[in-house]
Point group: C2
Chain length 401, copies 2
């Protein structure tokens, strides 16, 4: 490339995301993609957004189209405070604890920007969300990953790791978790581990970054309280988003955290994008205020529950012995573990030949190991596509066994 | 603060922007603010946006509310290519040269992220846009500032500086300029200097970051070609925005540059916010496609020309001898130079007492010098407010002389 020597160290270090590259292949309409991470367009309240924008333009156009302040529209921050208090069980939070974001990814990026120096330790789940890796890698941290099982991050392994690090004189800057319906694994951390995680954060004096994009999309099982709702000493930074319960295209999310952290995040955001989309903030505000959100969530749950069930049934019907998968109670993804000797990366071209796509599991590990795993999405494809896709994938896997 | 020792080096280094802090004072409705940087809400095509969103929701709701790719909506990128080719005079550009941004500030940030290592030299105009300082400071560069006069950046001073740096074995990473109706100074770089700047970039093998937020808002004088339109060797990264010709609240801007630079900027953006607001991209696309933009610009020009004239007339009428100001042919700001011994920072509390506000000029210099200067905005206040505001400011200045 012409400018190769001019680029910064960061620019030289960032590579095209593998998922992104893989997904390009998937543009072919004959391929059934279980690879994406998209909500179903059927989940979008199109008519509601139309009504809201219509009203906003009629009554408050100039305000809604103007620059906003970096922290967000105050009335919207108050709506978030109210919802977090009443629905999420967060206590003692105020407008000053809320920063409006242009999507959760921005929250991950700002957390990295305000906390991570080169070689700082950041603890993540194994596997973890790819976006946290791309966000944090800009600051050259050392990732430490903690294995999960069907009850989420194994906090006993975490405890051993924290002890070990302490002996070496090292303290992690923060622990990142998607405790509920994790992306990519589809598992949920149980209550006992959530409490244990908080105790460990206290004992080892570190922070928790809790990412809750799917919290409200539960199709079975009982609610488990958010970690932030159990948090007495403001050790938890919580990220919430409207991408899965309204629209990802309007890019609205929020961080709830200690006021001092929010203050720093605001300053960090100022340099990054000045302010979040004002129109989108008002759309999300009215979506909640007019009661549409609480009416839409059951519709989305109904839609996705059927898709999840279709995928679980199809896996049961078609997948061979020796292949294992998680049974998510909500969210968008499940996680397949193949026999040790089967490499999902090598399998991928064959799957494409059979016109089905998935994401290779190694993409979700900082060290790119666990090659015998894959992530499947069930929210975007139709029920028919899910069934046919799993059938195709089953035959690809059988060939490899 | 509780988390003081946990914060990153960057977080510790960023301070609340002075302008931001000053503007808090200005919330008092009795104060006439000439300090802001806001477009007039009268310039927003509220009804047009309502119509466009209505149509989009009726016909393309699911697409418009879904995640987009990091580079932007392809059809919108093509619309930008067409406009840049036909209206900006850019040649030989394609979709691959365009990255859609969530506002120009993001473009500044990404340029910093992909080019600037610690202590790299970044050349800016003196005074320069505050946002470029906040964006770039995250990467700890060394700013070198080049004085301007009524014809923009003095490229002869630039040449001397480049020579001097070369002798020291140093090469600037890039040269940042707002050549037309500069913020904060209100001046426009003449054609000769634009050509000279490009020659210098060639000779010293560096890049130009051309920021063009006000290009289409000319109230007098003749158009001067954008530097990018004279650029034969893709040395110029161009930033354009819809904030001043549509709405700042929808946060849409774009970068046009060499394909390799765009590729790196896309990767850098992926970690920062995944993708730009899809709904806003379609709004801006339809705004151009349906011909509204070209009909709106003359209306905005008419509105702002009157405001500029009112401010220039009022300055002539009320300001004392010994005070100088620029006569912008467009844009949103003009620049006042007080006699050397008058400190605009010290004057500020007195201005607030007199119920008028401005931005102290030193905020626009990396070294915070030039204390005898101030920036005035004429797009947001009404004509009456401008007249009364200048009258009040004149009496504050007279007291200080």
């Amino acid at each position: 490339m012409v400018f190769d020597e001019e680029f910064s160290e960061i620019a030289k270090s960032i590579k095209a995301s593998e998922i992104r590259e893989l997904l390009k292949v998937v543009q072919n309409p004959e391929i059934i993609s279980l690879a994406g991470g998209l909500p179903s367009p059927d989940a979008f309240p199109v008519e509601v957004i139309r009504e809201i924008v219509d009203d906003l333009m009629e009554k408050e156009g100039p305000k809604v189209l103007q620059y906003g302040s970096t922290d967000g529209v105050n009335s919207f921050r108050d709506v978030i405070v109210e919802r977090a208090t009443n629905k999420f069980g967060f206590s003692n939070i105020h407008r000053e604890n809320v920063l409006i974001l242009a999507g959760s990814q921005q929250g991950l990026y700002l957390a990295a920007k305000i906390f991570v120096n080169r070689k700082d330790i950041v603890i993540v789940e194994a596997p973890t969300y790819v976006g946290v890796l791309t966000a944090f890698q800009s600051y050259f941290p050392t990732f430490v990953d903690i294995e999960m099982d069907k009850d989420g991050m194994n906090t006993h392994l975490l405890e051993s790791k924290l002890k070990e690090l302490k002996k070496e004189g090292k303290k992690p800057k923060l622990i990142y978790t998607i405790p509920t319906f994790q992306n990519p694994a589809g598992v949920t951390m149980n209550l006992e581990r959530r409490k244990h995680l908080l105790e460990l954060a206290e004992e080892y004096n570190t922070l928790i970054l809790e990412d809750g994009p799917y919290e409200e999309l539960r199709y079975s099982g009982k609610d488990v309280p958010r970690i932030k709702s159990l948090d007495k000493n403001e050790r938890v930074m919580y990220l919430g988003t409207f991408s899965k319960i309204l629209s990802p295209g309007i890019r609205i999310a929020f961080m709830i955290a200690h006021e001092d952290i929010i203050q720093k995040a605001i300053l960090a955001k100022q340099g990054v994008d000045l302010c979040t989309n004002t129109l989108s903030q008002y759309i999300a505000q009215e979506y909640i205020r007019r009661g549409y959100l609480d009416r839409q969530i059951p519709k989305i749950i109904k839609l996705y529950k059927e898709k999840r069930d279709t995928m679980l049934d199809s896996l049961e019907d078609y997948f061979p012995e020796g292949v294992d998968w998680t049974k998510p109670d909500g969210g968008m993804f499940l996680w397949v573990t193949l026999p040790k000797h089967v490499d999902a990366e090598k399998l991928f071209p064959k799957a494409i030949e059979h016109k089905v796509a998935y994401v290779v599991g190694s993409a979700f590990y900082p060290k790119r190991d666990h090659k015998n795993t894959m992530r499947l999405n069930f929210t975007y494809p139709s029920n028919e596509m899910i069934k046919e896709g799993i059938k195709r994938l089953a035959s690809v896997i059988k060939e490899a066994l």
